[in-house]
């Protein structure tokens, strides 16, 4: 389905308008070209890529790939980075970037599993651990947001500093040890499933749904895209650009906190090594999904598909006993090809418009 805000543009223009247009646009080209140039087409392209991957998976690994268990494995693996990627979609749509997400996940997981936090959780409820992780994530996001929006530090630099700082702080707190989670209820709850669907996957679906609604149906989402599309125009239209920008980083921080809870449940640990290279995976998923790295256009559905493509790729490679280095090469190629294709589409769109 194609419900994304900006994705309506090319696809839904009624043909009757075309005759009045002083300059010819895409709408005059072949219907199939139109379909693929629009948001629906972009998503369709991703779906086709995903299906191709599945065909490869089935051909090389057979039933080991095409089983319900394996499907759930893929989804469970993808859900942690998926939650981060949803948050990243907002920051990138708003014209920013965040390199510190992996470090924030690590710090949140460590902080939520310290002896003190676990003791408190044991005394009251495991939800304390969840609150702690989310609050730490939000706090880190707030620092990023304030630095970027009010301190006018370039997002790349501000979050690079957070990347170093947060992971360092995580190491200090954990003293470089892996902290085991003792609360069985926490692990049972998040490690379990509802009607055969893992709780982690349900969380991802919820986050993606809420993200989609916020981006496409609320003033918050509209303002985010406006700032990413033209920050000066947004400012001169009376939008509080700084506050909005800061909130985007807070939102992503919260997503990182949630992801930290999920990774804690999956590994039953909190450690400063969680979330390694999440920044790259999340940015890659967002960008191949079709969100513009320069901002102004964002698609949650594209991001979800991007995450699934990378996770499925990893799964297929693992099932075929290919090492992670080969995976990394394949990832690199996919990113380049996807972005090159998108640019071609965008250029044709601009040239005609």
């Amino acid at each position: 389905m194609s419900g994304e805000i900006t994705e309506k543009t090319a696809g839904e223009v009624s043909p009757s308008v075309v005759g009045d247009d002083p300059r010819p646009t895409d709408e005059r080209s072949h219907p199939l070209v139109r379909l693929f140039a629009g948001g629906f087409g972009r998503n369709l392209g991703l779906v086709i890529a995903l299906l191709l991957l599945c065909v490869v998976g089935f051909a090389t690994a057979g039933d080991r790939f095409a089983s319900t268990d394996n499907l759930m494995t893929i989804l469970r693996l993808g859900s942690v980075i998926g939650v981060v990627s949803i948050g990243m979609t907002f920051v990138i749509s708003g014209g920013g970037i965040d390199l510190s997400v992996g470090a924030i996940v690590a710090l949140s997981s460590v902080w939520a599993t310290t002896l003190a936090t676990q003791q408190m959780a044991a005394d009251i409820h495991w939800i304390i651990m969840v609150f702690t992780a989310v609050a730490v994530g939000a706090g880190c996001g707030l620092v990023n947001g304030i630095l970027v929006a009010y301190g006018r530090v370039a997002p790349f630099i501000a979050t690079l500093a957070m990347l170093a700082g947060a992971r360092g702080l995580a190491e200090i707190i954990a003293q470089r040890r892996t902290q085991i989670i003792r609360d069985r209820d926490f692990i049972t709850f998040f490690g379990g499933d509802v009607l055969g669907i893992p709780v982690l996957v349900i969380i991802f679906v919820l986050v993606a749904t809420v993200g989609w609604i916020i981006l496409n149906r609320t003033t918050f989402g509209r303002r985010t895209l406006a700032i990413g599309g033209n920050a000066e125009a947004a400012r001169l239209a009376g939008i509080r650009v700084k506050r909005q920008t800061a909130m985007l980083y807070v939102l992503l921080g919260i997503a990182c906190g949630i992801a930290a809870v999920m990774i804690m449940a999956r590994t039953t640990t909190g450690t400063s090594t969680h979330g390694q290279l999440y920044e790259l995976d999340a940015i890659a998923a967002v960008v191949i999904g079709g969100t513009l790295l320069s901002g102004g256009r964002g698609t949650i559905i594209g991001t979800v598909l991007g995450v699934l493509i990378f996770t499925t790729l990893t799964n297929v490679f693992t099932l075929n006993n290919l090492d992670t280095s080969t995976q990394a090469v394949a990832k690199g190629i996919i990113i380049v090809v996807a972005v090159l294709l998108q640019q071609r589409v965008a250029e044709r769109h601009q040239a005609s418009g």
Binding site: I5, T6, K8, T9, A10, E12, V13, S14, V17, D20, D21, P22, R23, T25, R217, T218, T219, F220, R222, R223, L225, A226, G229, N230, E232, A233, A234, R235, L236, A237, G238, I239, R240, G296, R297, Q350, G353
Partner: protein
């Protein structure tokens, strides 16, 4: 002196040069002769084609028709380097210096002094120091980063750069715009020295008294054509020059003005508004139904005044009130809430999100009115945006297409639609017809007039003086950040306005 040189070969001769851009004839046949050792001044209003002419000379643009003769030989400059190789140097209005490099590095940028492929830093410094001393500015250290210098000193560096080559013609595009009177003296000293050495100077300025002082001959451009060339810079009467600059070929039809209602208080009140270095003590009222025009040349501070009223720039002093209630300075959000809307000068970069739909561009300032608890009621939004764009007759109709597909005039309507939807009653319009083709202009004029009749207070800024005079009830003439004149539009004409600007600029 160039008088009586008709028998000599001019250093530069441009004959019937034509340059068109898609949809615009920038130069429609320009003739220009420049002799070695003279200061040849170019006069013309904004948009008369001066900048294009300079760029053709500098090899940035290639003319579509016409010939350029250099030293008696026909030449074509296919790229800027070709013009430089012939000895033409250009000092652009926006200085093209690299701020992070030193003075010496900037001066020799593009033709670095080198030995065996390595930059010869010492020679570069010494040559730079020599050039600066020649210009009477040995105080500027060749090792200073250019970003640290004042605007005036950057100008000197730019000139040193021009002189660092074997130069025979220097084009100076409003070099005095950023200089104070003492620095202008110094500049003139340098110019005289250059011409004494046989270098020709093409000098562009809006300041008539500068032209009188430094110029030998004057060429007047108007609407992309040479209106007159080879006039004597000191003898030609001011009235004649102004007539040549303004004698218009394009006439616009303006709607009839109705007398505004001044019985109620003013809707917009600006009192003593000042921003250091930009403008000072701007005071005026706008009543409901009134259009106030601000006339002035580029750089006079017009846009800055509007942006400060709107809160996009923070005033150093002075107040802005709507309906008698003052607005805190420096807050666009508060200004918008008070009912002010700005249609900025650079529509595409300052007002529109070109990759978004028309509908989303319209509703950008009114989102709260279609939403509850942050949730946008899309049906309501769509219906309202459609209604307001239809009422402004935006073509093609429909709000789902991408913003960039609209023409300039329709894009301007979208900006107005945004503020109408918001219910703004004070409209600040900065160059409302820039980039709007001739046919659509009257439409914009009618629209502005309708809005004022509906009770809006409108402030219009335009470089086109007839536009200001034709639209506004009352006109403020500004130059160099000061209001020189305020009065009813009927009492002014284009000559009078230019006269005020050119004479008032003397200080």
């Amino acid at each position: 002196m160039p008088q009586g040189r008709a028998h000599e070969t001019p250093l530069l001769r441009m004959t019937n040069v034509v340059k068109t851009f898609p949809g615009v004839v920038a130069l429609g046949g320009v003739d220009l002769d420049v002799y070695a050792g003279e200061v040849h001044c170019l006069l013309g209003q904004n948009g008369a084609g001066k900048s294009t002419l300079i760029k053709v000379l500098a090899g940035v643009h290639r003319p579509d028709e016409g010939t350029i003769t250099w030293d008696g030989e026909e030449v074509t400059f296919s790229h800027p380097q070709a013009a430089m190789d012939h000895g033409i140097a250009t000092m652009y209005q926006e200085l093209d210096l690299v701020e992070g490099l030193t003075v010496a590095e900037n001066i020799f940028l593009g033709h670095e002094l080198s030995r065996f492929g390595f930059a010869n830093r010492r020679a570069t410094r010494e040559r730079a120091a020599e050039l600066l001393a020649q210009l009477g500015h040995s105080g500027i250290s060749p090792n200073t980063e250019v970003g640290q210098l004042s605007a005036a000193n950057q100008q000197i560096v730019s000139m040193a750069r021009a002189l660092s080559r074997d130069v025979r013609l220097i084009i100076m595009d409003e070099p005095s715009a950023v200089l104070d009177s003492g620095e202008v003296r110094q500049l003139f000293g340098v110019v005289r020295e250059l011409t004494a050495r046989g270098v020709a100077v093409v000098y562009i300025s809006h300041r008539l008294e500068e032209i009188r002082e430094i110029g030998d001959r004057v060429t007047v451009l108007k609407d992309g054509r040479t209106a007159a060339t080879g006039l004597d810079a000191t003898e030609t009467p001011t009235a004649e020059l102004i007539r040549l600059m303004t004698g218009r070929t394009i006439e616009y039809v303006f709607p009839p003005r109705r007398t505004p209602d001044t019985t109620t208080g003013p809707l917009l009140s600006v009192n003593g508004l000042t921003r250091a270095g930009e403008f000072h003590d701007v005071t005026f009222d706008v009543y409901p139904g009134e259009i106030v025009g601000i006339a002035g040349l580029v750089g006079a501070g017009r846009s800055e005044i509007l942006e400060t009223i709107f809160g996009a720039r923070k005033a150093d002093r002075g107040t802005v009130s709507v309906d008698g209630r003052p607005i805190p300075p420096g807050s666009v959000v508060k200004a918008v809430q008070a009912g002010i809307g700005l249609a900025p000068e650079e529509r595409k970069s300052q007002a529109l999100i070109l990759s978004h739909t028309i509908g989303h561009n319209v509703s950008l300032a009114s989102l709260p009115s279609f939403s509850s608890a942050g949730w946008i009621d899309s049906a309501k939004e769509r219906e309202s945006s459609l209604r307001v764009t239809q009422s402004l007759d935006v073509r093609p109709s429909g709000i789902e297409r991408e913003m960039r597909t609209l023409s300039g005039g329709n894009q301007q309507k979208i900006v107005l639609a945004r503020w109408l939807q918001r219910g703004s009653r004070v409209l600040l319009l900065d160059e409302p017809t820039r980039g709007v083709d001739v046919g659509a202009r009257s439409e914009i004029y009618n629209l502005i007039n309708d809005l004022s009749e509906e009770g809006c207070a409108v402030v219009v800024v335009s470089s086109e003086i007839p536009e200001v005079l034709g639209l506004a009830h009352r006109v403020l003439v500004v130059a160099d950040g000061a209001v020189l004149h305020e009065g009813p539009a009927e009492e002014l004409d284009e000559h009078r306005v230019l006269d005020i600007i050119l004479k008032g600029d003397a200080a």
